[in-house]
Amino acid sequence: MVATSPSKYAARLTELEALHHELETGKRPGDGAVVVGLLLEAAGDVLRRTTALGATRANVTRPLGAIPELALRSWGDGVQVQELAAKLERAASQAVESALPDDEESGAAMAQWAVQDLQARDRLESALVALEALAASGRKDAQSLAARLRTAVGSVDRTCRAAVESLTALNGARRAEAALIDPEFRGQAWWYSERTGIEDDQLVQVLGGEVKGSMPAELKSVNAEVNRKRGRPVSFDDLLRFDLGLASPAEKEVIRLQADADPELKLSLAAMEAAEAAIAEETAGEGVVPKAAPVSAPVERSSAPEIIEERAEFKVLLFRSKKNVQVVVQPHRLDRLAAAAVYRSDEPDRPFPSAPGDMGLHFDLGPPERLVGVLARIVVKLVDGQTHGFEVRL
């Protein structure tokens, strides 16, 4: 937990007086924008924490009234609202890392950095509150600047506030800060005050599955959605990245795992290699780097196949050898065949892997001793949508 000491704000009144003096004497070089910024922050800190500091609004009236118009405009032009958005997003991200760290040390560092980013949002809020106080005193330049900045900051808040649950990991520090803010300003300071109940202190660990705890109602459906088992088939982009050598070790592992279980992916990898050879031929002399994609192992085959079916468009052959039984779908016209699949009656839901071979599309169904009494179902689809189904006893 990151501690926030009330003493951090105790010197704000003194600092405010010092900055007021500096502004009036004009000792610091430049147009005064830096001093104006510091003065606005100090004044706003006082205005938002009058109870904790034992201060009143009168403490800030004279210092605010001393701000020159030109310096105020210069400060306003330099406020980077979008940077604030980036800091709040980073704070949300680091807060999660602080709750689920690789080790204690990094967790503490993450928490500290996250709180520093929240402090940046709070300092701008203080400056805005002070600017609005100046505007309320009748300063026209402060009125237009306050309106413009409040609109811009409001937009950032609307976006970043949606991530407030991440900040619950910093609840100890946030509660301490919120307690110092006067009640009328506390709600506006959502980065310190929203979802700071102790029941939310371990929310991030609960969401990460590290701690068992009650899940708030609005998060139950989210929890179920993420925990629901779902696969992620290898996509076009995954394969392209793999092919271009850009895949990370983890991405390669995903492809390997899926290729083991998915004959279509295995076939795609074989197609990748076959097409790469064509690319090499078409770009001869252009320095194409040859690829190495996994290919199906060749299968021993008997010399005399059984013809299971013969049509104008294709032929289905059955090869039996001592080692394996194999179905081959042999197209007479390549342009007519859309797809083929083979299933075994003992595993009716699993299509068997196929691989392109010298005679057509090959399906290795396994050793003959394991296929006694088993039926093979072959489905062939033509490009016009016609589907043909056959069965053969293995």
Partner: protein, 223 residues
Amino acid sequence: MLNDDELFADIARRKALGQDYKRPLGELVFRWRDASTTVIRRVQGAFMRGSPDDADEVFQDAVAKFMAKGLDQFRGVSEQVPGKAASPKTFFLRIVKHCAIDRYRRQREELDSGRGVGEDGEEPETSLPEANRAVAEARAIAEQNEAHGEYWNAWERLKEEHPNEAAAWDLYHHQDLDDHEEVARALGITVVNSYKRVSRAQAWLKLYILEARKRDEGPREES
């Protein structure tokens, strides 16, 4: 006449300047048309699927992908893995190759959805019935919806912002590895790191979905 590399450089320059580059791009890819057809045929041969008519569609698909992302991808690949992209032509032909592979992989899914035809032996040779086609279409729509659903949006964000956690989650959850020792081995990290990365991944995914839902609901009143 400009050679391929010069024409490609001109296209890249026009794109960078926000100028129209479709005409020179059309000219460039037209030069690679025959080579593309050869690559598509080779993929068809490997899959034992497809027809000559497919080549047009695959080619158009590849041109669209090349325009959408390929021009920038080519530069990225050239910088990250010098020699891999080799030339704009080689890179384009690889996109063609993957468009063809994608097409024939998907054809197989259609076949799977219609494989019940004729199983009772009464109708061994028929056109794919409308009912099965409707089921296949419904499944495709459902998959598309799922692909663009809130979970996958959150997943894309996780990959972008926290690739290490995304990689661990992908193996552990999507690929059903379900074992931190195996995840750790695959990623070259410790078992404790695997456990932590998976925890952070699932926390972030849930928080991202919640965040997206809140943004969809619109602005809220201050508490």
